[in-house]
Subunit: 434 residues, 3 copies
Amino acid sequence: MSVDERTHDRKFVRTFFTSPTAVEGEDDSAKLLRSAAGLRGMQAPDVWVPDNEDATAPSMRDEGAANIVDVVAEHGAGFPGEIHPRVVWHRDSPGTRYQGFEHMRQIADPENGAGERIDGFVIPEVGGIDDWKKADEFMTIVEHEHGLETGSLAMSVIIESGAAELAMGTLREEMGKPSNNLERLFLLVDGEVDYTKDLRAITPTGELPPWPELRHNTSRAASAAGLIAVDGPYDDIRDVDGYHARMTDNQAKGMLGIWSLTPGQVVEANKGPLPPETGSWLLSVGDREVTLDQEDGVRVYSGDRVSLAETDAGYELTVAGDTLVLGESELREELLDMLDYVPSLDDIVDSMEEFEAAKAAGKGAIAMSRTATVRIDGIDVDISSDRMWDEATYQALQTPITLFQDVYENRPDQHDDLAELYGEAVVERAINVG
Amino acid sequence: MSVDERTHDRKFVRTFFTSPTAVEGEDDSAKLLRSAAGLRGMQAPDVWVPDNEDATAPSMRDEGAANIVDVVAEHGAGFPGEIHPRVVWHRDSPGTRYQGFEHMRQIADPENGAGERIDGFVIPEVGGIDDWKKADEFMTIVEHEHGLETGSLAMSVIIESGAAELAMGTLREEMGKPSNNLERLFLLVDGEVDYTKDLRAITPTGELPPWPELRHNTSRAASAAGLIAVDGPYDDIRDVDGYHARMTDNQAKGMLGIWSLTPGQVVEANKGPLPPETGSWLLSVGDREVTLDQEDGVRVYSGDRVSLAETDAGYELTVAGDTLVLGESELREELLDMLDYVPSLDDIVDSMEEFEAAKAAGKGAIAMSRTATVRIDGIDVDISSDRMWDEATYQALQTPITLFQDVYENRPDQHDDLAELYGEAVVERAINVG
Amino acid sequence: MSVDERTHDRKFVRTFFTSPTAVEGEDDSAKLLRSAAGLRGMQAPDVWVPDNEDATAPSMRDEGAANIVDVVAEHGAGFPGEIHPRVVWHRDSPGTRYQGFEHMRQIADPENGAGERIDGFVIPEVGGIDDWKKADEFMTIVEHEHGLETGSLAMSVIIESGAAELAMGTLREEMGKPSNNLERLFLLVDGEVDYTKDLRAITPTGELPPWPELRHNTSRAASAAGLIAVDGPYDDIRDVDGYHARMTDNQAKGMLGIWSLTPGQVVEANKGPLPPETGSWLLSVGDREVTLDQEDGVRVYSGDRVSLAETDAGYELTVAGDTLVLGESELREELLDMLDYVPSLDDIVDSMEEFEAAKAAGKGAIAMSRTATVRIDGIDVDISSDRMWDEATYQALQTPITLFQDVYENRPDQHDDLAELYGEAVVERAINVG
C-alpha cells in the first residue's frame, strides 16, 4: 500500500460543517448540535464537526463535550455523514492539549454510548510535525484505553500557522515510520483567520488575504500523502456568489472540500464540485464572463460590451471599445478565443464513453468536437472547437465523475436529490462510466 | 521559550534603509553615512544598514568598514533605530566570506568605539543552511574575541538565491540545535534583483518579476521561526504610488517591512503599515478602485464608470457598460458588493473596545455594523454592512494595533509625528487597547 | 564544483520536442521519428525526445524502443540538438519500471548503434526522491553494463505528482551523496495534465489550471540544484498567441524552456526567450497592452480606450472612461506610468556596453535613459524615463544575452536564422558582449 493512496472510507469530502457544542442561555445548551444531527440529504455535510473549540465559549467546553456524547449517542447512528468532533489543542499550551486529550477520552469511550459513532477528531492549532505526533499519540492512548483498533480514529488537522504549513511538506516521509500512527491522518483543513494572525498579515479593509500559496501547499500535501484538502470558513454567509467563486478557485487547485457554517452553505458546497446539469457557453471580455442565453438551440449574447455588425468588407466586431474588421473565418477565430464551453454531467459522461469506445477500437487519441451557433446583435455565427483527448486527458477529466461516484456510494440519502437534479438516466450512466 | 516567538527588541520592522559606506571622489567618503546617521522621526528607519556590499564599490569597502566604525562611534548613540551594517558574503566565494569576517571583527570591536552601538550584521548572498551556519559561526567567533555574549549580535540575511529560499523551510528545525547559534537570526530580507539573476528570469521590459511565492515563503518562514520578513528595494524612487501598492501587496502576505533607498522612501514605508487617519469607502469596478469623496457626511462617487438613474420600475445601475434594472433592496445589495470600508486607526480601536466590552459581558461573537449614505449621480442610497467578530477575528485584526504599539514603545522620536497624524487622544487610546 | 552550477553542455534549453516512437497502421511505424530526426535550424529543438511513453500506444512500445535505436543510429549523428528518449516509468508500478529499465538497456547499448548518440533519458511519473534514486541506479547499471562512464547518461524527470514536486525541494541535499549519481540530473519538466489528475483538480471548462506555484517551485529547484526548468505541453496548437503568453509568464518565473508538440511550436519556442529584433513601446490600460505603431520615429497610439485633447487649461486625458485634467508635466508623468519599453537585442547590447564602459571608468551605477515621442489623437508628447543600473541590474538583465550566447555556441545550424533575424552585425556584438 502506497502512502499516497487514500485509505479512508471517503475518497472525497465536499463539506466540513461545524456546530457549536454548547450555547449559554438556552434551555437546551445542545440545541444546535441536535438540529445539526437531524440534517439529511443536500443539507447534511460529508463531515460533521461538533466544534468544541472556537465556535463554543471556553467556559462551556466541558458541557460541550458532554453534549457531544449525548447527541451522538442518541442521533449518531442515523446521521448520513461522518462525525469528527473538534477538540481544543494548541502547539504552545500543554494545558490546552491536556484538555483536548481528556475530551477525546470521554467522547470516544464506548461506555458513554457515542464512541462507536465517532469517526475521528479534528485537531486545531497544530505546529510542527512533532506537535502533530503528540496528538497522534494521545489518540493511540485513547484507542488503547477503550480497546479500539490502533488507527481506527481518524485525525484531521487545521492548518493555521506557518509551522503547520511547513509540516505538511514532511508528511510523506513521516507517515510510514513505526514510531507513530500518522496513517490515521484524514483531512488537511486550512484555517485562514488564525493563519492570518499567525503570519501577521494586514489588509486595508480587514478582509482575509486570499492565501493562494497556502491552499496550493495544502492540496499538494494531500496529494502526496493520500489525504483530503479542505478550505476554511467563508464568513460572508449572505454572499452565495462569492462562496461559489471561492470553491471554483479552490477546485482549480485540487482542493475540493470547503468549510460550511450553515446548512445553506452545506447545500451550496455539496453541489459545488458536482458538474452542472446543463452545459453552457461562456463569453469572456477582459475579466468578465457572461453565460450566453439559449434560445431555440442558438446561444445568444445580450450584453453591451461586445457588438457585431456586417459590412461590405465582412464584419466589424467591437469588444470593450476596440473595433476589429474581420473576414468570416477571422471572426470565427476571434469568437472562439473568447468562448468556452462548460460541460454538463451528461456531456462529460458522453465524452468519456466516446473515448472508451475509441480506445477499445485501438485508438490512443481522438478529437472531441464542440459546436454551437452564437448570435450577437442578430447575426448568427457557427463555431466549432476541437480538443484532443488521450489517456492522460481522459484521466485528468475523470475527477468530477470519480467524485460523483464517491458521493453516490457513500451518501444514499442524496440519491433522490441527484436524481432530481440530473434525471435518473444521467445518474445511472454516471455511476457506471469509467 | 518557543522557537516561533520573536525574541529581539523589535517585534516589527517597517523600514530597512541602506546607505553607501564610502563614496569615491568626495571630500569626505563617509558623507552619506553621516547624513543618514542624523535622520530622526519619520525619516529615520527602524533598521539602518550601512551597506558595505552592493551600494559601495568593491575598491572602497575597506575604507567603508572604517567609515562605519567612525560614524557609528560618533553618532550611533543618538540614532533612534537599530544599526545593522551589511558586510560582504558569498556562498560560492571563500575570499568574500573571509573579507566579511574581517569587517565584522573590525566593526564590532568595542575598542574601536562603535561595537556597543552595533545591533547585528546583514549577510547577503547566502546559500543553503550550511552557508548560514558559517556566517553564524563567524559571528560567534567575533563575539568570543570581543567578550560579547553569544547571540548578542543579530544576524539578518538577504534571500537572493533559490538555495536560500529553500533553506528558510528548515530554520525551525535548525534553530534549536546545540551546534549553532541561529537563534541570533532577526530579519529575512528578499533581494529580488539578485534572485532574478539566480533564477535566470526574463521579462520583456526588464522590470523585476513580482515573485509572489518568494515573498509568501519568506513571510511563512518568519512566522514559523519567530523572525521578521522584509521585502527588497523598490528602485523606481519617483513612483510613490507603486511603492505603496507594493507595500499593500506585501502586507496581505504578512511581510510588513520593506527596503528603503532614500529618506523619502523611509517616510512612506514607516507610515505604510500604520492604519490611515481617516476611514474611507472604496468602490471597485473591475480592476479599478475609487475612493468616494466625503461631502457633508455623504460618500459621493464622481467617476464615469458607474451611473445610476431612477425609473418608474426602480433603478437603472450601469457599471462599465452593463445596465442592471433593480429594485431598491437589490440596488443596495449590488452596491454593497462593490463597496468596501477602509477603517481608520480610530475605527479599529473603536471596534476592538466594542468587542472587548462584549466579551467582558459574556458574549463570544458580535456583529460589527458599518453604515453610509452613498451618492451616485445625485441619488442617495443608504447602505449597511455587518461583519461577525469572534475571538479569532479580534486577534487577526489586532496586528496593526500591535505594530502601532511596538512603534510607539521603540521609537519615541516618532511620538510627535504620530500625534500630529492621528491626534493625541487617538494615539492614547491605541497604545492602551488590546 | 558547487551543486548549483550547471554542468551539462547546455546551460539553457528552450525546446523539448516529443515524437511518437511507433505509430500503428503506417507502412513505416517509425515515420514520425524519421521526420523529426530530419529537422534543422529553428524547427529543430534543443532537446529531442523520442517519446516511448504517453505519445505511443502501450502495445507499440517494444517496437518503439527498436525504432528509436534504428532511427538514432541512422540519423542521430546529424541531428543538431540533444537526444533524450522518454521511457516508461511509474512510482507505483514495478512492472512499468522494469520495462523502462529494459528499454534503456536496449537503446543505450553501443552495439545496437544508437548508444553514442543518446544524451540521456527522460523519466516520467516519478514520486518521492527514493523513486528518483531507483531510476538513477538503473541508469548507473546500464552505464556499467555498456562500459559507459558513470553519469554520462543525463536524467530528466517529468514532475507530474505532488510527491515529485516536494522531492524537488530536497535535490540540493541529495545530489552530493556518495550513494547516488543524481548529478546526472538535467531537466525538470512539468507535466500539467497528469499533475492535474494527481492533485484531483477540476475546472469548469476542463482546461488545465495555471499551476503558478508548481512552475515557481520547479524553477527554484532548477536554480538551487544547477538544473534546467521546462514547462509542459500547450495542447491548443492553433493558439500561437496563447503559447507565447504562456512562455512570457514562464520566463518571468525563470522557466525558459517549454515542451513543443509540433515543429511549428518548436519554431515559436526556440524564438520565445530571444529578445525581439526591434524595440517597441507598450501602452497599458487596465489589463490590456497595446504596442504603439512607429511612424517616422514617432510612436502612435491608434486605439479607442485612451484619448487626449488640448484645452486652455492644459490637457484632458481620458483613460477607459475616466478623464483627467492635467498640466504638461503631469501629462508626461501620467503617460510614463502607462508606458513601458521592450528593448531589442540591439538595445540590450547597447546598454550592457554602456554599463561596461562606465564600470571601466570607475563608476558603480549609471542612469540609462529612454526617450520617445508619443502621439495620441494627433498630439505629440515627449517622454523620457531613467533607470539606474548597477552591477546587480547588469547581471540580472544579462540572462537573455547569456542564453543567446549558449544558443549560438551549441546550435550552429541556427546561425543563419539568427543572422537573418537580427542582422550579422548585431549577432556579432551580442556574442562578444558580457
